[in-house]
Amino acid sequence: MNSTALWYATRASGLMALVLLTITMVLGLTTTTRARARNWPGFAQQEIHRRISMLAVVFLGLHVLTSVLDTYVNIGWVSVVVPFTSHYSSFWVGIGAVALDLMLAVFVTSLLRSRMRPSTWRAVHWLAYLSWPVALAHSYGMGTDSSESWVIALGVACTLAVVAALVWRVGAAGRQWEARRAHASVNEAPPKHLALTPMRDRSGARRV
């Protein structure tokens, strides 16, 4: 296949994967328990989050395939998954491999979710938080289109979206923590009007 065509395909699918990954992150970050409005379709949101993440993986696959098949640059299959082993631009391809490994871990564990302990799945899923900035770094570090203004704008938009979602998530978690703490106040002594004088306190005799 024409090397230039492959090259365009690699860049296009890569950017597409980044955008889809960003949307996945935003949908994931804004999933919370109890903190959302009662009529918000949380289940639907989770479903869309899942499907978009699968779409991101498809584009990631295309991105990897086209870059390996492209004979103009030397990127072997191994360096797709093993970071920093590529002959071409080993550092930035390596960063890409790191992002891919992380995404793969999240993807595979999610497919096998029902077969593992929920805490294991959740721990691996947190790796997603790492995969997004690494993917972003890879996109810009590779350098090919980084000076194009629309590409820069895309990067800024993605970053703003994730940051906004993150801020919201932290706020929601804080609100939830506050709500729980309000209820924990019952651990303290009862309200003043309920702190009554015990009648004929024989507690000394009763302590056994």
Binding site: T33, R34, R38, P41, G42, F43, A44, Q46, S114, P118
Partner: protein, 70 residues
Amino acid sequence: MIRIVIDPVACDAYGYCAELLPEAITLDEWGYPIVDGAPLPADLVEVARRAARDCPRRAIALRERKGGSS
């Protein structure tokens, strides 16, 4: 008779189950699911299985239980 059983320790009030099965599950004022323990009508069993599979905390189980009080 298939009934929905919710593990209250695992449940974290995501509310997806109530979204999928409003006929059988309602949420209390704090967002936690209320099930009445009655057997599920046959047409809801498939959706209930979906809800059980997709609960983020795996807090829903479908139990086969003989009729009468549990």
